[in-house]
């Protein structure tokens, strides 16, 4: 007996709603980026960052709440000895194995979390305002821009935000079981902003840009 090897992402059924909400992408767009490789890495970067770099082709950022990119990977700071390595789909097993080998004998933890979370990418002039409706971070363009990232709350869900473009393009990492809640929440926020376009949305979005 074999199962379908097609993977199902947490927001598989949301594509149409995302497309509808992204009708005017200059204002707002939203999509799920599913199945990327996510590896949680715990290690002393000051001592062993070079070993990691040798595997990933990417430095581990040592500045809190930032991310770096290199080779196929991005590495997002999660804590003083913790990073999320994001790479293209399918690289999880090899990177995990290579990291473990490279770090053998060193206190470390490599954990494949590729199926633990999904990622929503939102963009457009309303994106920051939409997040500001439920996220207590300072999301102003001068305060949250590449290469910044932050772990925080979005409404009642823990999230990891990564600002990948100042324009902005912001990635929202969310655990599978919270994904539908966060998606619903973001669509609701964006719809309100769209409905308020003649009232105040552009003015407020402009003040957060």
């Amino acid at each position: 007996m074999t199962a379908s090897t097609d993977r199902v992402s947490p927001l598989e059924n949301w594509t149409a709603r995302f497309a509808a909400a992204s009708a005017t992408p200059v204002q707002f767009s939203i999509r799920e980026v599913a199945f990327a490789t996510h590896i949680n890495l715990r290690v002393d970067a000051a001592a062993f960052g070079a070993k990691v770099r040798a595997v990933l082709g990417c430095d581990l950022p040592v500045v809190a709440n930032t991310w770096t990119t290199g080779g196929e990977c991005s590495a997002i700071w999660l804590g003083p000895d913790e990073w999320l390595v994001v790479a293209p789909d399918g690289r999880n097993e090899s990177f995990c194995a290579d990291l473990r080998t490279a770090l053998s004998g060193v206190h470390h933890a490599v954990t494949d979390l590729s199926a633990n979370r999904t990622m929503l990418e939102i963009a457009g002039s309303d994106a920051r305002v939409a997040l500001a409706k439920g996220c207590p971070l300072d999301l102003h363009g001068s305060a949250f821009k590449p290469p910044q990232s932050a772990q925080s709350l979005l409404a009642k869900s823990q999230v990891l935000l990564q600002c990948v473009d100042a324009n902005p393009v912001i990635r929202v990492f969310v655990r599978n079981s919270f994904a539908a809640y966060v998606a619903e929440w973001l669509l609701d926020a964006a719809a309100e902003l769209a409905a308020s376009r003649n009232l105040d949305t552009p003015r407020i979005a402009n003040r957060l840009a």
Binding site: A64, G79, P136, L153
Partner: protein, 93 residues
């Protein structure tokens, strides 16, 4: 809502943190060597000052690190933030 300066992540809103009560409550070196009364001191008895208080917080929605805070329990002013293992700020006059 307090604003707390996580020693790793910087200024964040209180809603990202969880409270951990009094700081520097040491686990007895040998719990089985202390009396029931002293064990109760470790388990339950806590300072509860009206004024400066050394307390623990964890940045539970952020970097998940524990740290210590010196905070005034009337004004809520935070006068120091420091990492575990670091000494508390000298007693203020």
């Amino acid at each position: 809502m307090l604003q707390i300066d996580c020693p790793w992540c910087g200024m964040r809103e209180e809603m990202e943190f969880s409270y951990g009560g009094q700081a520097h409550v040491a686990y007895p070196k040998d719990p089985h060597a202390v009396s029931d009364e002293d064990w109760a001191q470790y388990l339950f008895m806590r300072d509860n000052p009206k004024g400066l208080f050394l307390e623990r917080w964890v940045h539970s929605q952020g970097c998940r690190r524990w740290f210590n805070v010196e905070r005034h329990t009337v004004t809520h002013e935070i006068t120091a933030v420091y990492k575990p293992g670091e000494p508390p700020p000298a007693a203020k006059p």
